[in-house]
């Protein structure tokens, strides 16, 4: 009872102190950099030749109807397959007694921190017209391009995030419930079907949502391996960048938001009242596996096939960086790496710079906002919370074009600093920082904050003496997360890149488009390396310091990474 009262009333009598103005500033940021661009793109999409009209949308449903159909088709199958693979990997890690769990987790983490369309690149290298496997080894003449390729690569790319979300819930399940079911005479299959999976439903539903939305908004994969098969996201990209028809591009990417929003609403309905991550962590008993043997066999096969493919993928990319001409001449060369040194190093350094700035900003703003929103200290917290959440469901191209429309009036000199790229990344990742902040905060007794006031400290002291030190884990999570995101993202920022602000992923994107496999492989490898170094050193720093909240934040950390690509 005391807690509830506290959260409602604590700031009374001292509302106009320093934290209050900080809150105003943060809220203004959320409104300007999330709400305003969103409104700008919606407005743009309903103007045709300068007057109000739904013409763009009508066109989409008539002439471009097949695009919508294609997007939904790909999204549907990608979700099904990615969920299946993800579920298998998750069960492998949590519910079997197989060996190699650490390796599985490590490979999963690796795939989580690599740039998008790495899969497409590897696909082209392995199964393309000059693919190592299809052409060189099997001597096949097949057409790798089309819906099947997109679905395969997106499924594999998105299976990881699904796996981590499901692992998080499976770990939180009280294992004695499963034991009780077996004890009461249920078969192993019934226990899995009626107990384990229903309990894991929040994670499975969330995973499905995220996979579906990300599949819809992914334009890299269809672009590279779709061939003639077009989807909405590629169309949005080409309309905006190719023909610079921004109203039409706005309408297309707004259309992308609609299914995403519907899925989001369903998800809210299903999840109402179900916490995403159970607060109680139950000690996992390492008992014999409680799955039927045919299920665990399936899990074993799916998981290892997936892991092997992932390993093959990275080996391919890394070796692609070191051979002369992939598919034709496999002799060793350092030529591509030298190209990086000469011409592309600038964009790599720029990427690192943007990523560091974004990460710092998102980390600090995340914990500050988490405090205001989590403790409901300040006016309109619900509205701000909702708006800050929006980028989570908004597809990358939508948010990118939105920024283009809202902020392109800025002078060249300002745009040249990359400020739009940084803010775009910060605000897309902000919600995850806020969420992890709130989840850490939920474990911090609000009486600690009262104690500061009681002892004579002001609001600012509460922030400085209690919130910042205790939310350090959340800051680190947010930092690493945003750093990784900024280093690897392309979907949103490709619309904002100017010749002066070209980043590494854009360089890689161009290289793939030009069919320069050597340079693309080098860029991909270097990005992976940088992100890996940052992730590993931070998690080392993290785990070394035994903090009460490490375990909890790790859990929320993993699924949060790149959740909204």
């Amino acid at each position: 009872m005391a807690i509830k009262q506290n959260s409602k009333n604590s700031i009374i009598g001292a509302s106009k102190d320093a934290p209050f103005y900080l809150y105003l500033l943060l809220s203004a940021g959320v409104l300007i950099f999330i709400l305003w661009p969103t409104l700008a793109i919606l407005k743009e999409s309903i103007f045709f030749n300068g007057s109000f009209s739904f013409e763009h949308y009508r066109n989409l449903f008539t002439t471009n109807r097949s695009l919508l159909k294609n997007s939904l088709f790909v999204g549907f199958w990608t979700t099904i397959i990615a969920l299946f693979i993800g579920l298998c990997c998750a069960l492998y890690v949590t519910h079997t007694s197989f060996k190699g769990k650490k390796l599985v987790l490590m490979v999963l983490l690796l795939t989580l921190i690599s740039p998008p369309f790495v899969s497409s690149l590897a696909y082209i290298m392995l199964f393309g017209r000059r693919g190592l496997i299809t052409w060189k080894i099997l001597k096949l003449h097949w057409n790798p391009y089309g819906a099947h390729g997109i679905i395969m690569m997106e499924s594999i790319g998105l299976a990881t995030i699904a796996a981590f979300l499901i692992i998080a819930v499976l770990k939180g399940i009280d294992r004695s419930l499963e034991q009780a079911s077996l004890d009461l005479g249920a078969s192993k299959w019934s226990t899995l079907w009626h107990i384990t999976l229903p309990l894991a439903r929040p994670g499975i539903v969330t995973a499905a949502l995220i996979v579906f939305i990300r599949s819809l908004s992914d334009f890299g994969t269809p672009m590279f391996i779709g061939g003639n098969y077009n989807v909405l996201a590629t169309q949005a990209y080409m309309t905006a960048i190719g023909t610079y028809n921004l109203p039409k591009a706005s309408a297309i990417s707004t259309l992308l938001v609609i299914p995403a929003f519907i899925v989001f609403l369903i998800y809210r309905k299903i999840m109402a009242g179900t916490p995403l991550f159970s607060k109680k962590t139950t000690a996992t008993t390492h008992e014999e596996c409680s799955l039927p043997s045919w299920v665990s066999t399936t899990i074993w096969i799916v998981t290892w096939s997936f892991i092997l493919f992932e390993l093959l993928k990275y080996t391919t990319i890394f070796s692609g960086a070191l051979v002369k001409t992939w598919g034709v001449n496999f002799s060793f060369t350092l030529h591509h790496i030298q190209t990086l040194k000469l011409a592309k190093l600038g964009s790599l350094l720029r990427s690192i710079k943007y990523a560091t700035v974004s990460a710092l900003a998102a980390g600090i703003m995340g914990i500050a906002l988490a405090w205001f929103l989590g403790r409901k200290k300040g006016p309109f917290t619900h509205a701000i919370d909702f708006i800050a959440d929006l980028p989570f469901i908004l597809p990358g191209p939508f948010f990118g074009i939105a920024y283009l429309l809202a902020f392109n009036w800025m002078p060249e000199a300002v745009l040249g600093t990359g400020v739009l790229i940084v803010t775009n990344c910060v605000y897309r990742q902000l919600t995850l920082g806020v969420k992890s902040g709130i989840s850490v905060l939920a474990q911090i007794n609000p009486e600690l904050e009262d104690a500061v006031r009681d002892q004579g400290g002001k609001g600012l002291h509460v922030f400085k003496d209690v919130i910042i030190p205790l939310l350090k884990p959340a800051f680190l999570v947010s930092f690493v997360n945003t750093f990784t995101f900024t280093m690897t993202t392309i979907g949103g920022i490709i619309f904002l890149i100017t010749p002066y602000t070209k980043v590494a992923t854009a360089e890689m994107f161009d290289a793939i488009q030009q069919g320069d496999i050597g340079v693309s492989s080098v860029m991909a490898s270097v990005i992976i390396l940088v992100v890996m170094i940052v992730n590993v050193s931070f998690s080392w720093f993290f785990l070394r310091k035994k903090s009460i909240s490490v375990h909890k934040t790790e859990e929320s950390y993993v699924p949060s990474i790149k959740a909204a690509q």
Binding site: M1, A2, N9, L448, A451, R453, D454, Q455, G457
Partner: protein
Amino acid sequence: MYLQLKQLNKKFGNVRAVIDFSLNVQEGELVSLLGPSGCGKTTTLRMVGGFLQPNRGEIILEGENITSLPPEKRPTATVFQSYALFPHMDVLENVTYGLKFKKIARKKTLQMGLEMLEKVGLPNAAAKTIDQLSGGEQQRVALARSLITQPKVLLLDEPLSNLDAKLRIRMRREIRQIQKDFGITALYVTHDQEEALALSDRVVVMEKGSITQVDTPRKIYTSAQNSFVADFIGRSNIFTLKGNKKIAVHPEDISLSEEHGQYEGIIVGHQFKGAMTTYFIAVEKQVIEADILSRIDQNWEEGRKVKVTFNKESIMPLF
């Protein structure tokens, strides 16, 4: 009067959590707020601490109206139910935290902190982290942190509820001792009637946001004014007399006899508790409990007819 609470009212939405709460507390007095959960006792305490703003009413301390002062400006200090010790600071840092805001030299504050730790019986704990302390030790650190700022009123919010039964009894003696040593005025919230009776100068019994009775522990126990207090404080038999008048009688104020007594009763059950045996007796279609000193030679079996007498001085007429 040292501390005056005048007509305090607090609403949460439509729920009236505290209704017209008025109380005068003398300097050096320890007053308990006692009641079941949800009775408004913690809300009252938090209003005194400045964490909640009353909808109506005033809080006067030494003649000064402090009703609208924020917690950091109030000369009150709270011992929180969870202790609210800062987990990222060591014991000494916790204890001296409040002195940071008093413009006292760092060296001096450390000295004061060590002295305070000594006074609460933790002379060697200064450099320990909070999670190295036992529950009782954490309790003392919380107390030390509150006392070091020399507050005019000490507020304790169920400070013993996280301790086990034995430690609770020891700590309530210690808290009382420290409170007396410092001569500090204290408000003490608890739902444990035995605790309230054992350490208070006066007890305020609350029910549904209102005060039902304020008295010394002895008076509260021996002359409860209504059935809520009688029922909440200790065990009482609420007995309806002819003409629907109600009285309350404690089980130890009932005697049983084979020959003489006011009422006829039949033993319907008993529980042996060591020194005492509790008999359940049906009297005029009501079942009452009587605590009788256990004696080897005397044991009434169930079904047996007995004569029951209520000790005249101990009968509490209820209103």
